[in-house]
Subunit: 611 residues, 2 copies
Amino acid sequence: MDYDNLRELGQQLRVDAVRAADAAGSGHPTSSMSAADLMAVLLARHLHYDFGEPARPGNDHLVFSKGHASPLLYALYKAGGAVTDEELLTFRAEGSRLEGHPTPQLPWVDVATGSLGQGLPVGVGIALAGKHLDRLPYRVWVLCGDSEMAEGSMWEAFEHAGHERLDNLTAVIDVNRLGQRGPTRHEWDLDAYAHRIRSFGWHTVEVDGHDVAAVDEAYAEARSTALRPTAIIARTRKGRGVQAVEDREGAHGKPLPDAAEAIAELGGRRDLAVDVAPPPDVRAPHRAHEDLVLPHYETGDSVATRDAYGAALTALGAARGDVVALDGEVSDSTRSRAFAKDHPDRFFECYIAEQQLVAAGVGMQARGWTPFVSTFAAFLTRAHDFVRMAAVSRASLNFAGSHAGVAIGEDGPSQMGLEDLAMFRAVHDSTVLYPCDANQTARLMSAMTDRPGVNYLRTSRGATPVIYGPEERFQVGGSTVLRSSDADQVTLIGAGVTLHEALAAADRLAEEDIAARVIDLYSVKPVDAETLHTAADATGRFVTVEDHRPEGGLGDAVLEAFTDGRRAPRVARLAVRNLPASAGAERQLAIAGIDAEAIVGAARRLLAAGD
Amino acid sequence: MDYDNLRELGQQLRVDAVRAADAAGSGHPTSSMSAADLMAVLLARHLHYDFGEPARPGNDHLVFSKGHASPLLYALYKAGGAVTDEELLTFRAEGSRLEGHPTPQLPWVDVATGSLGQGLPVGVGIALAGKHLDRLPYRVWVLCGDSEMAEGSMWEAFEHAGHERLDNLTAVIDVNRLGQRGPTRHEWDLDAYAHRIRSFGWHTVEVDGHDVAAVDEAYAEARSTALRPTAIIARTRKGRGVQAVEDREGAHGKPLPDAAEAIAELGGRRDLAVDVAPPPDVRAPHRAHEDLVLPHYETGDSVATRDAYGAALTALGAARGDVVALDGEVSDSTRSRAFAKDHPDRFFECYIAEQQLVAAGVGMQARGWTPFVSTFAAFLTRAHDFVRMAAVSRASLNFAGSHAGVAIGEDGPSQMGLEDLAMFRAVHDSTVLYPCDANQTARLMSAMTDRPGVNYLRTSRGATPVIYGPEERFQVGGSTVLRSSDADQVTLIGAGVTLHEALAAADRLAEEDIAARVIDLYSVKPVDAETLHTAADATGRFVTVEDHRPEGGLGDAVLEAFTDGRRAPRVARLAVRNLPASAGAERQLAIAGIDAEAIVGAARRLLAAGD
């Protein structure tokens, strides 16, 4: 396509963005119009993509980090022959695949965007997969907004990509000067962006984003630049082409005031079809799939579940070539280091940059890899928005948060995962597992590996007794009843460290002739409602105990099983209500009131309250 | 203090760090030893501080962003005469103020650190307060680690401080080359850090961190540099001074193998006392405190609670000189723009950098200001770790999250706050409020303003009917019973948009001669247990309905009132269980099953199930 036609195509994309937003009555046409020429040139002259077969291994990847420019993306799909004009006008309508912000409901969208600052870090993940896992020549193109350059996650991405020399990655920055409520910090100071990005090891090109020849050259330069990712920093005008909105404040995130007039001003409708260049015919590498040999532990031994995590992860890596591990510079503590040692080519050190850490995992799963992402449970909160968006992306990936709860001891509250269960439970379609011993950890990791969605495993710092033999089976949505009799008067429910406290409490209560059922609720989500219902019917009284804040964790999970109109048992909930300081692990449990003694006391009080 | 003495002081700090960690049996002496000379020079020659009166307005602020170097901080306090040698050796012991990571249990600690990458952004907040609110000449000194330079939040801070020309801020970067599990990304490449930081508008000085004369000069240069913040990038050796650990891997985060030998190698114990320079005698500016005149709304009108937020915030700003507002470049949407217009000197635009946004608020409240921090509810998840740490800091600040739930309509799940209640409820000692109308919003904002701790107000995008008169009173921990009779068979509990659905459902049920109690549970935490107990006794059946994920929100809050062994009512929980796509607001409620029709259905099913 020659430059005249490219200019026409740019206008077509603008017209279609205006039409889509007008049909919807909402959306971001002006943010689409600034980037229209940039994307026209990319689609027609540099992208390699087969819209008919989005899973083709050689396909490039185009990520709209500025997801609100979705009308432009959908206009591109139309020009590329992937959607019809009719479907384009279903933008934002109920039931349409063309959502307000792009999601993988559309087969050409790798990951959902719309929370700014996420597309580039995810693009880094895809580019890492291209270089080090797939080892395929596809390129990753990420359209970024200028407002999102303020997000720290963007700089985690620039740092990671620069350091890894990801020359298969190009960031296209649409510097249209205007954010949601007025000018951006750097307005049209392209140098401000270029200096910063270059200092992180990138190649940069500054360009007039409406000069299709210059843009074309910039893409060519990006493609020919070796050993460095390239950022194309493009000066553009928001709302370009329509005087009523071009470079004007107050025109963000709404349809144009007069669509018909705007379309006329843009030269009317066009129906150019772009013959997008096909990808090279390449194949993804073979991924080994052998029998899994999980580590075994002897009952009676004391082993930290984080140690079992490291060992089982390594075993998974040996059996399955698709398993990869990522860590935030704490592999010594999470124990993912064991995997790094055995499978260095599938281990990714992300340093202390939890947002990039999670985004890299999201990018890799988009390419079909099976990531395990680990850091301290407390520090996964740093990436909460990325985990939330991973669910919107229908991503399948596994998280392991170590150093759960007050049981870590002296390090204090900054290092204690006390909100992680609440965070992961509230994620759409998530799975939350919290093992209490080493064999259970290994089994649950095997169970979570192929489970779709966001899966979370919570591990503990200190050693706990191995109570299950290696032959025991555990399933997502299951639980284990460890003490049970027809005489049970109360049910004690714990998981992880508190399960051991519950067992000790049951022993003490038995000395007082109080029979207590004990449930190991290792699957916090989904929860084993049936076993809980049975226990409620049998005992009528529950003590829940968790090394977590009282809100959103195990106690809430138990009660969730009784929100179908069923009668709930009487419940006493033990959880961490204090602000912990330094103390030894055992003392921390005692101070927080989640140890065996506290459980015994709570059970006694429940029983004393009568029926 | 001359250079010889400074070197001695550096050795003393090392010895004391080694002793403290040895007494504790844990801690980070090697990370302390690398920065000992840097801090010795700061304490003795550049810091202005009155340890006897930590609240003195002219005091400098010293923040250990690398909070794990707490033994060094406490050794400094000892050298400054603030803690005794005896107390120093209580490090990490139960009941000691000298926690594993610093917290404001110590009067000289402004904010808790220990989650890396937070001290510098908070320091930016204190420096902003110094320049624009306190207008006092104090300086902010932040000791940073090299590992934490990977955190995006650090670059949000560099960007914000550079752009704001905060020459009262100095970052001291302890480049000791070794992280937790091995070398950092840039090891001793000081230029790598300097290039990056300079590109963000800072002045940089590279220095040998063990050369006290050079360090002294660097501080002098920082103090005399106008219109730019300064970063002192110091090459240091982890574990400096003790051969067994100096610059060695595997020596992170543990006491020295032989403390006695190490102390001997460091030249033995010293007891130098530093006469820290006093701060200038200055006063913080007067803060107006006048009668609050809240906006009033007419019942029957339709007003979005976010509009009421903007108006009430502006009114609070007029009445109280201590109220400040911060926003993440969405003030147009959150409506904090109203405050910005009336009180531009107390409004802080933080652009799309939610971590720095929250950290700035934390820094300002440490100086006694009363911040209101606003962005979309969904994007507050970006700063989850900062909110978590704000609670550890015993910080008092207010958050407003707009665009709650599926009720925002077409924009889709990336923009919907669906996990925010779970996130804020799990924060220690937090308050969570969710008003349903404009007058209630204004009243609750007045109630939350002086409430200690982390306070969260959830606002809605769309207009809702004003159902309360301006004379109505609401309190934290309260609720309103809007429909009630002796014949009530079921209780409908909502808040925000779902409260209006609950009222409509009650009307429809009344047509079927089913009397329903309706509770407006605007205080999600603390929850009004008494009113819930009364309703449970009276009706025995609850329908909870929330525009939020089923986990961690209003439904869990209701059940929390029944975890003291009391009999819970039968409960049906309505919440957002689907992955929303685009649709209009009303349709979104219907699709998610949280509208009046769904409530009516749930109530009918509960009643049909019998007792």
